[in-house]
């Protein structure tokens, strides 16, 4: 109970909401005032968006959802480099800045200077390992990580006022889905943000010059954690079936999903509404070498499992899960760690003495009794060294000859 309280207080003081003043906790005055305003509905701020009331050009929720999903998919398509996808400059810039894509050609600077980002330059950008990891994430996590990158970019390159951008981002989290909002109260910076984020499907505007904007579900669920994933299953049916013999059937014709699958499945045949493939060691190892983890693969497969597969428990065949994990472990057979090597002990007794001292606190990495060699961890080294000095001195005093040869140390 108390540790929880301390943890919370620590978080609050990190955010500068609570200030510790002479053993009294004080709430930040500005936060206090505005929180009070929010609770009692007072003040004349427009923190929660200025709704537009007239019902002209009604936009319904399914349309917004469709728009958001399509736009977001376009971004992902662009990321995996599906051809024939034109992409607005804002998206391309952001993807590159976030390290999800990198310039394969190497003349990025020159290209950034162009006003139009046309098909020819698309080909030069290719997805990075970070980009692959990104693809397997939950949509909400994806959106947030892009927004964080956007903040970074906005501050460094676009010279925007970061406070205004943040202000706007938090504001959109509180907006209502399906409600039109006026862009009048927005500052110039915020209007720019709106224009940029429109390309990610976070907002919908009917025309470029429209005086109103609609937040999509992606925007309204920004600050509500799991909302997007909990609502998704209805419209986003799972499509992957995996059998115990490592065969995979995916009922999809989306190039994006096929592209993602091809990251860790060796695809064999493609039909009109499905693809089949094998989860092979080579394919998975290739994914692993790109920095994708076994857990990410398993999570992705589980999240998109076909409803038939979801009836089982566990959802994926245990053999497949285990095998993917084993393949990952295969890659981690070697582990490097710094160590000190002790050798040339005077006798077995001294060797054993030091071993017995070091072993209980886990300082011994490896030892060979026959050759009397001992490898000690870096953390343990200081202790073992001190101990050896002590015992060496004691033995020297005991036997009377000071010429006890000390074991040599090697790095």
């Amino acid at each position: 109970m108390f540790s929880g309280l301390k943890e919370s207080l620590k978080k609050l003081s990190k955010l500068h909401i609570c200030v510790d003043q002479h053993e009294h906790l004080q709430m930040n005055k500005i936060f206090q005032e505005n929180f009070h305003n929010a609770l009692v509905g007072g003040g004349n701020h427009v923190s929660f968006g200025e709704p537009m009331d007239d019902k002209k050009h009604e936009v319904d929720i399914p349309l917004l959802d469709r728009y958001a999903a399509e736009t977001w998919e376009t971004v992902l398509h662009y990321l995996v480099g599906t051809p024939a996808e034109r992409c607005p400059k804002a998206v391309a810039k952001l993807l590159e800045a976030s390290g999800l894509q990198e310039d394969a050609g190497g003349d990025g600077r020159q290209r950034m200077g162009h006003d139009e980002l046309d098909g020819s330059s698309d080909q030069k950008l290719s997805i990075t390992s970070k980009g692959f990891q990104f693809l397997l994430l939950d949509v909400n996590v994806q959106v947030w990580s892009l927004l964080l990158q956007y903040l970074d970019l906005a501050e460094r390159q676009l010279n925007m006022d970061i406070v205004q951008v943040l202000n706007f981002l938090f504001q959109i989290g509180t907006l209502e889905l399906g409600q039109a909002y006026s862009i009048e109260p927005l500052t110039d910076t915020q209007t720019n943000v709106l224009r940029d984020l429109k390309h990610f499907g976070i907002f919908y505007q009917r025309t470029k010059k429209s005086r109103r904007f609609y937040p999509t579900r992606m925007a309204t669920s920004l600050t509500s954690g799991s909302m997007i994933s909990s609502r998704k299953p209805e419209d986003n049916q799972g499509y992957i079936i995996i059998e115990t013999n490592f065969r995979m059937y995916a009922y999809t014709d989306s190039p994006l999903q096929i592209a993602i699958l091809s990251l860790f499945v060796s695809l064999q045949a493609r039909f009109q509404n499905m693809v089949t493939g094998l989860v092979t060691r080579d394919a998975v190892r290739e994914a692993l070498s790109k920095g994708i983890t076994a857990d990410q693969i398993i999570t992705y497969l589980t999240a998109h499992a076909h409803p038939e597969l979801k009836k089982q428990s566990p959802i994926l065949p245990q053999t497949v899960i285990d095998q993917i994990r084993l393949w990952e472990m295969e890659r981690n057979r070697l582990r490097l760690s710094g160590a000190w090597l002790y050798n040339e002990f005077a006798d077995m007794q001294e060797f054993n003495q030091i071993c017995n001292y070091a072993e209980p606190f886990g300082a011994v990495l490896w030892k060979n009794e026959k050759k009397r060699i001992l490898a000690v961890t870096e953390e343990g080294h200081e202790h073992v060294k001190a101990f050896r000095k002590r015992t060496a001195a004691a033995r020297a005093g005991q036997s009377g000859n000071g010429a006890q040869r000390a074991p040599t140390l090697q790095r």
Partner: protein, 227 residues
């Protein structure tokens, strides 16, 4: 550790017995204004909603002859559409605004419907408690995967009804079994209310807090701090 993912469900039962509130309002020593009290409760409710996005809420009015949900409204309710009618000002948070509007509207409706003849000095606390627990049970069923922490807050002013004793105790035991705490805020003065026997038991058995409000103007303070 999992406490962060829990869904907090707060059910507020407001005693809306007009006779009792009238008596309290005309109390020469410490007059009690129903509207002021409701305002404070609404702020408390806003605070509850602001703590976490997933926090759930239900408000039940315990009237002289019936118990009625003030929030949430049934989705088919034609009144729900009317709710959209008042324009949401830009300085109000959507959820707060919806709840506040809904509760105020439903209360007005309730007052308009009550007839003089109903005005016996009684309140359907037992009925409201069982209504609250049915709702809690429903929310628990709907969120079987996550842990639902449920709590009932009773704002009470009417005297006990001896005829409701068995019903009330049954509700209390049911709440105890469902690990639902019942907190009680009780208004009483020399000329109204009187000692309640049932409600202290409700809090005691379920591990909640029973509080006689010494200073009604500070109700919000008690609600926010004595959680």
């Amino acid at each position: 550790m999992n406490a962060e993912d829990d869904i907090n469900l707060l059910t507020v039962i407001v005693d809306t017995n007009p006779a009792a509130w009238a008596a309290a309002a005309n109390d020469p020593e410490r007059p009690l204004d129903f509207i002021k009290i409701i305002e404070q409760i609404l702020i408390f409710i806003n605070a509850h909603l602001s703590l976490k996005f997933d926090n759930e809420l239900a408000i039940i009015a315990s009237h002289t002859n019936q118990s009625r949900f003030l929030y949430p409204l049934p989705p088919t309710d034609p009144e729900a559409a009317l709710l959209d009618a008042p324009k949401k000002p830009a300085n109000a948070y959507k959820q707060f605004f919806d709840v506040d509007q809904g509760v105020v509207m439903k209360l007005k409706e309730l007052v308009a419907e009550s007839k003089e003849a109903d005005e016996e000095n009684k309140s359907m606390i037992a009925g409201s408690l069982s209504l609250a627990q049915s709702y809690i049970n429903r929310v628990k069923r709907a969120n079987e995967n996550s842990n639902v922490q449920s709590r009932i807050l009773v704002i009470s002013i009417s005297p006990d009804l001896p005829s409701q004793y068995i019903a009330t105790m049954n509700c209390i035991f049911a709440a105890q079994k469902g690990a639902t705490r019942i907190d009680v805020c009780r208004f009483q003065g020399r000329n109204y209310g009187g000692d309640s026997v049932f409600l202290p038991q409700a809090s005691h058995i379920t591990g909640g807090i029973f509080l006689e409000i010494p200073e009604p103007r500070n109700l919000l303070q008690y609600l926010l701090v004595r959680r």
